[in-house]
Symmetry: C2
Subunit: 218 residues, 2 copies
């Protein structure tokens, strides 16, 4: 069994469609880096909750943040969480309903969330988020205040119990179905970045920065 | 308090950014109908798990499906789950790091998942999924076999404990920050449907159907 196919834990092991599984760090990092939107699940009063938020990666850790007063932050901190990052790449239309599928790249992470307690480290991590999304932006911004830092909690988790799952390519039909005169194929889907819109209250003469013009996702 | 602002349960009530909350059925249905990708969370061995899958709506119920052998299906069935549907509409760049945000439409559903036990109803529900995504496709496909139906489990949940959360529009900065010569605005994001790709093994003369040419998402 190659490293690519060795799951770091039983719950991380992809059971369904295991041929689509990939446990390589580089693959996992690439998916995390391509898609800031994630879904974090945690337990509240014995029941599962899932919340969309932004994630960013630094080295072997993933980070997310929120209002220090938020339920998601308070219930995730120091507890077991699961994070999913999913990029939809296309719809896969087969000759039978059963073999319809979706092309995607996804990562699932398990672990215990830690609070980045040190405000200097928390601010540095928020800077990493902004700079990953919009290179060069942090230095242009009005500085964070102590009050803002206190109102923000940054959580982190090591990328240890992680799996990626990827499907690409055309449908896979039953052998005999290839003889049927049914259209089959892939509808590719990607994220389109449309023309950025200036804030209506922007000062005259302020130009759109390159990190806005060049923004990409997915 | 208007209907729009009345949460159906305490855990459904949006606490952070409550001005973005919306509990109207029509708003919730519109978001569910626009985005088939969802994230379902459930509890496995006492820890939360979140799995991306497809959802579809019929009336006041949401449905999702999977292999009857899948962990997600087995652990969700008859248990408390939470489902999130999230559409990313843009990145919101403010004059301070703190006021950066994201434009989005999201729905969070809580409830107990039920198995659609009757195979006739299960197949009808799968038909609804295919027809919602690709109108007219079901009748063109090779029929589902009993074996395929047995291998597939359809789950459902009423859309009762549900909330939508929506952010749109430009950044909201601190009053004094509007005087700063910093670019601020919105980078709109949407899903782009690229040119559909014929399956390499498609029979000669089979034309691309309208439901492929007209596919939309988001």
């Amino acid at each position: 069994m190659s490293l690519k196919n060795a799951a770091p834990s039983e719950r991380t092991r992809v059971k369904r469609g295991h041929l689509r599984a990939n446990y390589e760090k580089q693959t996992i990092h690439d998916i995390l880096d391509a898609m800031p939107i994630c879904h974090v699940s945690y337990i509240l009063d014995g029941a599962p909750v899932v919340t969309p938020t932004l994630q960013w990666r630094q080295g072997n850790h993933v980070y997310w943040h929120g209002s220090s007063a938020s339920r998601m932050i308070k219930k995730s901190a120091k507890n077991q969480v699961c994070m999913a990052v999913t990029i939809l790449d296309g719809m896969v239309l087969a000759r039978s309903a059963f073999h319809h599928s979706v092309n995607y790249r996804s990562v699932t992470l398990f672990g215990k969330a830690s609070v980045v307690d040190d405000p200097v480290k928390a601010e540095a991590s928020l800077r990493t988020m902004v700079e990953h999304l919009f290179p060069g932006r942090w230095e242009l911004l009005r500085e964070m205040t102590d009050k803002e830092l206190k109102a923000t909690t940054v959580l982190s988790m090591p990328i240890d119990e992680a799996s990626a799952k990827i499907r690409s390519g055309p449908p896979v039909d039953d052998d005999e179905d290839y003889e049927l005169p049914i259209w089959a194929g892939v509808i590719p889907i990607s994220h389109s970045i449309d023309m950025p819109e200036n804030d209506p209250r922007i000062l005259a003469g302020v130009e759109m920065p390159d990190h806005t013009k060049n923004f990409k996702i997915g």
